[in-house]
């Protein structure tokens, strides 16, 4: 973009409603006044007139506020003027912008508007630095200016791949969070106790499942399964039609069916890139690529998915094309050969604890024996997975510290490979347990410098070799 380029955008008129929303509470003042009047004097005066006057005032306030808002791009800077009582004028170098995100909901489709979010690393976690609505064409033009030339390669991902990612990243808890307000609202709308109807349905289904799952568990299982399905559908609708465009050091990720979202950022704004696999993806031999970007906006964490689901070879190809500058130079360090048994310590201890508690409960609580057996089997399956992860860490965990950082380890239920440049590392934390003394090994935790402080831990690596690598990189700086 040339330095003399200049363009000014006005906010979409729908922003009048956005400005109106936070001040609607003032309409309650005449109601309170009327309530006090009714209680003291047993009569109400001028309620309607007061409401009309106040409404006119706040509408006027919202219109002036909308009129005063402007978004300018000039001399390589982004200038956002906003506010009426408290005016703000933000001047942001375009180079300092982390991401520009556009969202089109069905509401936006009706009014021909687009929500635009501008994020920098200075913003608060979970909140966009600047959010406004522009006309559809203005938003498209703005995104084009921020996104550079049209000469970009596009990669599309099929619905099946997106579905696998949605299935792998969905959780019952998310489903419950989505479902509870919906059920409550539906109940209010139709004048029925929706929750009672749902409980009846759960009871009916659980009767059929009672042969396989203990009665005390099956209702809970059904709730979790139903919540998981809802979370899956929610995630699928948000992620379907997933495509990534890249070139000129910029990336554009777009997704969504009903709510279409586009986000663009420079590859330079990426703090770290990780190739991840969660339990379901491990089962199907698929991987996903996530990037962590400073100031990613009002999404959970600061992660953007670049490749939702692909085979190992495909992931490596995408990685090399999108991030040609990220590669590992030095030989990675692997866990010390004679410390490998230590990876099994936690799973073995946990299994022993589970076995002991289960045996005690089985012996003492005779009426809950079926339930205890079921839960014990479930816990053992989880522990089997953790034994598998321990084997994975023995075979695969690695760390390499040079100008490029590379680390590979498991985190909770996921396996993870992290890549970033040495300058993006905020903190290196080395821990030596008493057991590390004999073999002179250590655990290392790398924290990436960003709002969300992404981190990875690699265990039982040789301390001296690690120190040498760290000194080689950071002594020169």
């Amino acid at each position: 973009m040339s330095s003399c380029f200049s363009r000014e955008y006005r906010a979409h008129p729908i922003m009048i409603l956005t400005h109106l929303k936070p001040v609607l509470f003032v309409l309650l003042i005449p109601v309170f006044k009327a309530a006090v009047q009714a209680a003291i004097h047993n009569k109400i005066d001028g309620l309607f007139l007061n409401e009309i006057i106040l409404f006119a005032v706040i509408v006027l306030y919202a219109i002036i506020k909308w009129k005063k808002m402007s978004i300018k791009i000039m001399r390589g800077q982004f200038v956002i003027n906003s506010g009426l009582v408290l005016t703000k004028s933000a001047v942001i170098d375009i180079d300092k912008i982390s991401t520009v995100e556009t969202i089109r909901t069905p509401w936006d489709f009706i009014w021909g508007s687009t929500t635009v979010r501008v994020n920098t690393e200075a913003g608060r976690i979970g909140k966009a630095d600047h959010e406004f609505k522009l006309k559809k064409w203005d938003a498209a033009e703005l995104l084009k200016i921020m996104n550079g030339s049209e000469n970009k390669k596009t990669v599309k991902f099929s619905a099946i791949r997106v579905a696998l990612m949605a299935a792998a990243t969905s959780s019952s808890v998310t489903g419950i969070i989505v479902a509870v307000p919906v059920i409550n609202q539906a109940g209010k709308l139709f004048g029925t106790a929706a929750s009672e109807i749902i409980i009846k349905q759960i009871n009916d289904v659980s009767m059929h499942l009672s042969r396989f799952i203990p009665p005390a568990i099956n209702a809970v299982t059904i709730i979790f399964l139903a919540s998981y399905t809802l979370s899956f559908l929610n995630s699928l609708l948000k992620s379907i039609n997933f495509r990534v465009r890249f070139g000129d050091g910029r990336l554009e990720v777009s997704s969504g069916l009903i709510r279409r979202k586009k986000i663009c950022f420079k590859t330079r704004a990426v703090n770290d890139v990780s190739i991840e696999q969660n339990p379901l993806m491990r089962l199907f031999g698929r991987y996903m690529i996530n990037v962590e970007i400073g100031g990613y906006g009002n999404l959970r964490g600061e992660k953007a998915v670049l490749v939702p689901s692909a085979k190992r070879r495909e992931v490596k190809t995408h990685f090399a094309i999108i991030f040609p500058d990220i590669y590992t130079e030095s030989q990675p360090l692997h866990p010390d050969n004679k410390s490998r048994h230590r990876f099994f310590v936690i799973p073995v201890v946990l299994t022993a604890v589970i076995f002991t508690i289960s045996a005690l409960l089985y012996h003492n609580l005779t009426i809950f024996r079926d339930l205890i057996l079921f839960l014990t089997f479930f816990a053992f399956f989880v522990m089997l997975y953790y034994f598998d992860l321990a084997v994975y860490n023995i075979k695969n965990s690695a760390i390499s510290i040079s100008d490029m950082i590379y680390a590979k380890y498991s985190r909770w239920t996921k396996t993870r490979e992290l890549y970033c440049t040495a300058e993006k590392i905020g903190m290196i934390h080395i821990v030596k347990w008493p057991a590390d003394k004999k073999r002179n090994t250590c655990n290392i935790r790398l924290t990436v410098r960003s709002e969300g402080s992404d981190s990875i831990t690699v265990k039982h690596v040789a301390y001296q070799d690690l120190r040498r690598q760290i000194e080689n990189v950071y002594k020169e700086r």
């Binding site: 005016t87 004028s89 170098d93």
Partner: protein, 139 residues
Amino acid sequence: MKTYTPPKKIIWVWALRSVVILIVIIFITMWVWFLAPYFGLVAYIAVLLTLAFNVLYLPMYLKHYSITVSNSAIVIKSGVIIRHERIMPIPRMVYAERVQTLFARAFSVSALALKATRAITLTLELDNRDIDSILEDLH
């Protein structure tokens, strides 16, 4: 390297703000006076504190306040009893935002919000020309 200090008219901006706050406090105190007579004491204390703030503390605070902009950093010095010196390296700064309230606009002064990763510093109001000059230096 340029050093900026707040203009004298800032005192009037703060005096107006204090008066507005004072009116609100007195109004609330009068409203709840019937509950207990000693609520009136709150109004007297508020008046005394406002006077002390505007006549004694604010002029001294303004005297010790300065913003220095160099090629490498912005240094903000402030404080009367406890002195503060905040240094924000310019490469770490993400962007600056001009913030103006109604009273500040009437006196042609505005504050500056300096935003870096995980840190926001709001300066005291300076003359609009000084703010323009700082913004020009920063970008």
